[in-house]
Symmetry: D4
Subunit: 234 residues, 8 copies
């Protein structure tokens, strides 16, 4: 197959407050490095290098060495950072970031950790200080209501809640905090919860007013909205 | 249309522990009274009159006078009892009942009250002492966790939980008590929760092990199972 | 039917930043007035009367006189405000409000106006200055790209976009502004777009990162999130 | 990937009457052994070791040797029991169990045996004496109505019925016994019955009052409810 | 609206063994009479008047007088026969019919009677001797297994089984007889069984080989197939 | 896994007119041979060996040698017949068969051949003389209307039509012949027709009265019904 | 409710070759007349009055007198034309039209006539000479294959086919002509065909290459595409 | 498996304006070559060799050498052309083609390229001059509205638009051009857009009148319709 020329949307950050990222599945290591390099040049040209990260999402762990090698050739001095839980690679990591406020990422169980990690990684690379609360699902509600955990939760200025199975956690959280809450249905699971549709519909049907939902597994999208909210706060 | 001869299943109580009831929609007042009369005779013949109630479910309020009149003719001394919240009519009410243990019926919000009332009414006519906990939905979780309410809940030997919208309440309750919990999705609501499918799927996907589900709005069926469980306890 | 005692969640505003509202369908005029009166008392007790409005949503126009009469008895001096497009009634209107920032409500066509009006009314009663852009659907994209309209849109600190049919407008808007965008699928329409599911799925599948979605027709919920975002900005 | 610290819910048994189990898919052999060891310590601390088993469910047969090796290191004297039909491993098997009453597990055909085995194994490890009736599907109804089988069925104090295809068997069984009946749709099959949705919906629509349903293939959940019911009987 | 000229398929009986019928909904009384008259003429021309009935299906009871009046004008000597349970009207009833063999129509409960009546009426007008077995649903399986009923069932050369709710009856019947069995899902009901989809899918998933299914409520279609089968037997 | 004892339904043929077959997926070669041997003994005991074949369906081609070897041991003189297109194996083939009448199996395109072959093979082993008409899909309707083909079609006493994609062929065929027509939706295909649901729904919605449908890909079930119809004709 | 100012898209015809029409449901008679008047002025300004009609679609018959009266006031000399079968009203009918080529509108049965009439009416007002072929459904395929009808069909330069039930007719037609074929699923019907989804999916799955589909009942949209195709031919 | 004789529809081009193509999946290399050879002979016999190409679609790249070898034997002088992006092979390429007008194929993003390539390849082999516009999705609407791109788009006489995710692009394009627009939902993607159903429904619900849709991923079918439209223009 011939190599397609990918047209990057270089001005997306200045236009929308959230920069173009590289969705890795289906792209070869050299393509990922090349698009990253081009975004790095666009960012430098715009003089905004502290504010937006250059991210490759859902990177296959096996592709890492090849991407690093290709990146080295294109940008010998550009730092790389790999987040294994989020399967996310940051290219051309800046020396410092401008902070954009505290956020929290809450998850119900083991199967929710991947979208949670993805959301936390994006928030962190955009300059947010991220608090993580894991394994606080509603079948043992005392875990969430622990005073220390509640205090952490209430300190955040935006909250992302990832849950699979019956998807009840975001409704409970939204009844406890005043920050905006973004719900992410978790795709991983078994039985009826596999695929995440039960959780998606439960979240859309939430009895807690003002809960907004992104699609199943879309920790990246939830974080994009959270970043926009946090940046508006400055 | 000619009058169909309805074949009642007179021995269902002795066979299954739960008697045949009269589903009223589509039946005329005289038919309801006539079937009730026939069941009354079958019950007397079996000598079990304390143990099983003769119930007409989902009775239209406007049909009450006509049913009462028809019943009066067939059974001049047979007492009647009407539960307006449950739209349920008990025919040939016995003077006393054999008690079968404490149950609890929990509901999340206003729209869940009809199935909750139906379940409570059935349990009560079968001899259970029923505790009601209403308006304890998960968006204000402190209401359920109130110590007095928790104590009431934990005293029950079987618990029915009715919830619409995101259907999260049964999962939370099942994480708090050791009694069997039966979940009833609520059919009434608006938006995505209208129809009760989001709640049904959330309940089937519950993270709380051992939660059994009946179909949307089926407070009657949930109570039937609860009665069988309570009767087994004796 | 006996009159149910409704348990209001009086501290929801201080806990979650968005107060309990009265969902009117299924409630009688006197009930609406009575719940409103109780919320008014709770608000006074909390000393927050400028910050949260007391709203009855989806009020039937025919019920207005009876609600007003009942309200007059309970609160002789309490002002009322009726928004016919939003079918929303504000009870105990305060003399002044604390402003919470500029928002925009965008809609694609005639059938999207009801959720748009509901969202705008909520935002306005919570103190936001709301800009409306109607009839800017994607089949005539020049209408949205008009420079005056774009400037208005970009001045908003949060944007709600209502669309039915193919639900494409939120994706286009989210590609044009840096404020957070909340998408509301419109329930009214004909053919495949009737019911709003095509729009809902299109919005969940949007190519614009960070678009969060509320359920079909839920202008109220979208505004609740927008209020929380704007209040965080202060 | 870094090793996640799994937070076990050590007090679930005392709170809910059914202990936390280890869902094995996605966990490594050493993790399964480690979680089991932790639960064993929690059980010992609670002094309840006869009453709740430590179970690893859906264990891959190929992982057995590695789990056993890891377990040996952590708990040199802890007995293990493997149920190949149920793919379930019991860790730290106690020397004796307190019996909790007779149960029956009924299945329709060959493809229903896996959920049936899972349910029977859980019931058995919790102390129930389990009667199995297999291959009694409704297309040859005489098999179920055989007097010896009927007598066995009626001796049980709780009945679990697993069926795939048209899912009719639970309705027939519930018309024959007075014990509570829990229905499990079978996921294995071919054609329209593959996936188990036809059976799930048939069971939810059952003409037999009081039939409660768990999700497709969830023999574990059905047994959890059965255990709670049986424990309530004591 | 102008009067559309309806093109009848006059030779359908000789071509396919089952004649065109008049589906009444949406047609005016005079149209029904006129189409019937035209079919009567076609039948006479073909010299087949004993073999195929002229049927108007799903006739509104209120339209009967007007249809009779219109028919009287067109065909002063043509006899009419009305089946109230089936809502079916036969026009130009012949003096005698050629018999085509015994059939049975079995139904599970009260809500299945309309499709059962429709099927029985069609079979009867085509010359079959129809045995009816009603109220033999699977929750009381002893009713179907009654020796007299079984003998009746086994005398039929084709069997139609109508069932709603879980749709299990056809599978049980098909395991008891050697005649071809045609299953009709019942549309009437409540809860999950309303609409008949659970029954339809259960029937398509039947464990009994050789069960063919027609669409929900289509008693007419089931009878059409049964007639073709019976006519092939002669 | 331990070897399950499979309970065969040995008297199904005398009871229902269609014998038990061996569904091969999930069974080991030796199990297939053993069940076949048991059925052979049952058939001999019943003295019906000409009338019912012993069939193993959906046999993996790779398992053939092992099945043959196992069979040889159990039944040194029993003949075997393999139909590669139908993936069906007949065990203990009788020397002669009693004929049961002519049938036709019609298919629309290449992807419909597997269910068509399965249906034809079953019909043939039960003694029917089967006419095949392939590649006569409706996009080239002249192929079906060819006079020779029409004559063949009209000679059959029962017709099975297999079609995928839009599933239109059975409706056209049912408008051309007087024999009963059984429709089989084809599972193989691409795009919207993959899976066969479009064809299934089209067949259930057919404008041709009396078309009965079996589930997607169920050529075996269609043939079972056809056999019952043909056997009734004798 | 206040009167909304509707923003018409006056230049749609010059931009897209098909003018804005007035979708009447939800609009008051005076609004329909006022929008029509505004479009008339826009058309005059553009000097294109022969080429694009001003259409109000899905007009309620009862609203006709009021629309006519309102129109009379706004445009005393503007002619009106009413098509009762299509429920369509043309406003400001021009004296002459420029012809755009022959089209055909084919329908399967009685229930398909409304979308067929809508499509034919639009085509006709845009200047196409429309041939109608009704009642040519596939259960009597000889009707479509009649030589005179085939000749008419093949004379058309674009063909619209409306069908409900199994939706097979467009596939058959597309196999007979070389003109582009546009398929319209019919929404009216009963049983599985009610709603038109079976027909929609059958059409999308058609075995005839190049069949394009519009949504259920959308005769207007099919005609819009046909007009664009015909106008391209000039 | 025995080799099936495939019946080609040799006269489809003269009858329908679009020739039979070879759908490759499931066919062996020699079968593809053999069918191609037969079509080549049919085309030669018809004397139309410039007008219709002989196409094998969805060819596996790995099968290419074997197909070429088989073709060489059958047709030593017949040229072959391979389009890797479209996975399409043209057999017996003619020396020259008769041009049929300009078309445009528009796509939204990377994942839409396969159907776009398939459509473009078919159009090109039938003689159309095809303009490609890629990566012009609605989240960066300025890319489509670029004056050079708009001019290219408006020069086309038929436009195919491929889009996944929210499927909004065809609606926007149809509001910009007067040529007929055919929409193709893209099957490739992730999250809710995976599978293409969100895009399919969005396209069927489009607010742009006259947008016709083919099934998900069916670039071939879209091109078939486009070819028929372009050929009608000559």
């Amino acid at each position: 197959m011939s190599l397609h020329r990918v047209i990057t949307d270089d001005h997306r950050f200045s236009r929308t407050g959230f920069a173009e990222a590289i969705y890795s599945p289906g792209k070869r290591p050299e393509e990922i490095a090349a698009i990253g390099h081009r975004l790095d040049q666009a960012r430098s040209a715009a003089g905004e290098d502290l504010d937006w990260p250059i991210l490759a999402t859902r990177v296959a762990h096996d592709d890492l060495p090849a991407i690093k090698a290709a990146w080295k050739k294109l940008s010998p001095n550009g730092a790389l950072a790999w987040d294994a839980d989020a399967s996310m690679l940051e290219l051309a990591v800046p020396g410092a970031r401008r902070p954009i406020g505290i956020s929290a990422v809450v998850s119900a169980g083991t199967t929710d950790r991947e979208p949670a990690a993805e959301a936390a990684c994006v928030l962190s690379t955009y300059g947010s200080d991220v608090a993580r609360l894991d394994d606080v699902g509603v079948a043992g509600i005392h875990r969430l209501l622990d005073p220390t955990r509640l205090e952490t939760l209430r300190a955040a200025r935006v909250v992302i809640v990832v849950a699979g199975m019956e998807g009840a956690l975001p409704s409970v959280v939204a009844g406890l905090v005043s920050a905006p809450v973004i719900a992410v249905p978790s795709p991983v699971g078994y039985g009826v919860s596999a695929g995440g549709h039960a959780a998606l519909h439960a979240m859309l049907a939430s009895c807690a007013p003002g809960l907004a939902v992104v699609y199943i597994g879309n920790g990246f999208g939830a974080a994009a909205l959270a970043v926009k909210i946090l940046r508006g706060l400055r």
